[in-house]
């Protein structure tokens, strides 16, 4: 997919490999917070990227940037270990959860 290079993104085959078998129909996030100019390019050349689409998602923003970052924490994709723990709570791979690594 040489076109992906024009978008300046990588698809790590390793992230897709387990999904090929298990939940091949579930969308995987490739890149969050996709820059607007690239979104525009993607929207124009949509037919050249089979199997990919753009979704609008809420993302965290911190008006005071790093202020009280340790207190507020930040969001990260749910880790394997955490997923094993909280599987019954309705978490799925790719979910964003609050993380504090203070």
């Amino acid at each position: 997919m040489p076109l992906l290079r024009t978008l300046n993104i990588d698809i790590d085959p390793e992230t897709l490999r387990p999904r090929r078998r298990a939940a091949a129909l579930k969308p995987v996030p490739i890149q969050r917070d996709f820059p607007r100019d690239q979104v525009a390019y993607f929207a124009e050349h949509r037919m050249d990227f089979p199997g990919m689409f753009i979704e609008v998602e809420p993302l965290r923003t911190y008006p005071y940037s790093t202020l009280a970052a340790h207190l507020l924490g930040y969001l990260g994709e749910i880790s394997e270990v955490q997923l094993q723990h909280s599987k019954d709570l309705g978490y799925y791979p790719g979910d964003l959860v609050g993380t504090v690594r203070a």
Binding site: I9, D10, L25, Q31, M52, Y62
Partner: protein, 290 residues
């Protein structure tokens, strides 16, 4: 609402059909109004309803006529089944299609009856015969059917014999007791009840047993599918139809004690991929992706 319409239509058809005027349209012809009702409703109704209504209509017809119990029910159910199956991919609103399906239904209905009657060697009912009448004890008029006191060895046992005297022959009957001519038309019409006849009764009960057993089989299978395995099939069909997509909800804002927003949400674009829809990952692509 719809079932009320249907019940009214069937009752009207049965009433009209049991009136003596329409017993036979002409020699050898039989008008089956209920069949048209069945055809119409199986064209526009659902799958199970078509079968049930075909069966119930046939049963009602059986109850009112003196035919073998279950014969009409069987043939009507079969007709409803065939009509509904064939009409599923057809635009049924068109009048031509409706007429065609009515013709088809008549063919199926008649064929089913004939097959059953032949298998069980029952006399064919509702078919008028034209034979010569030797004598008639009462004057007949063209406009009405009179019971003739003749015995005809060819008459099916469940038939009453009616004589319609042709206008030409009528003059002769003005003097009672005078023998008729060969032009007289004899029409057999079903009696209200079949007379006592050992062989006929035996075959009748055989047929009723067969019909009842097959009905029990159908009912049992329905019960098995709907009650015993109902939930299983429901789950299967839901899995066919539904694919759950998760939408993410907003996380709450975090405010400080003065109400200043410390953490908020904003809209962001995310590039997503559905793994099955992606082109095959080849070695060269892996290297170019890197």
């Amino acid at each position: 609402m719809f079932s009320a319409v249907y019940v009214t239509a069937v009752l009207l058809a049965l009433l009209a059909q049991t009136s003596p005027l329409l017993f036979t349209v002409g020699p050898g012809l039989r008008l089956d109004l209920t069949l048209m009702v069945v055809v119409y409703f199986s064209l526009f109704w659902g799958w199970k309803r078509a079968l049930v209504l075909g069966f119930l209509t046939g049963l009602g017809q059986d109850a009112l006529s003196s035919e073998v119990l279950g014969l009409s029910a069987l043939s009507k159910t079969l007709t409803a089944f065939v009509v509904h199956t064939l009409s599923r991919h057809v635009q049924v609103q068109s009048l031509i299609v409706q007429v065609l399906f009515t013709c088809l239904a008549v063919a199926v209905d008649t064929l089913a009856r004939l097959v059953v009657l032949m298998v069980f060697q029952l006399p064919m009912l509702g078919v008028a015969h034209r034979v010569a009448v030797r004598s008639c004890n009462r004057p007949c008029s063209v406009s009405c059917w009179r019971r003739a006191s003749i015995t005809d060895s060819r008459a099916p046992c469940s038939m009453a014999i009616y004589v319609r005297t042709k206008a030409r022959a009528m003059a002769r009957y003005s003097s009672p007791g005078e023998p008729g001519t060969c032009d007289d038309e004899v029409i057999y019409i079903q009696r209200p009840l079949p007379p006592y006849d050992d062989g006929f009764r035996r075959r009748l009960w055989g047929l009723i047993t067969v019909v009842l057993i097959s009905l029990c089989l159908l009912l049992g299978r329905t019960w098995q599918l709907q009650v015993l395995q109902g939930e299983y099939f429901l789950r299967l069909s839901e899995q066919n139809r539904l694919r759950s997509l998760r939408t993410k909800s907003l996380r709450g804002k975090i405010l400080d004690r003065h109400g200043y927003v410390l953490a908020d949400n904003r809209a962001a674009y995310t590039l997503m991929a559905i793994p099955v829809d992606l082109p095959r990952v080849t070695n060269s692509c892996r290297s170019c992706g890197r």
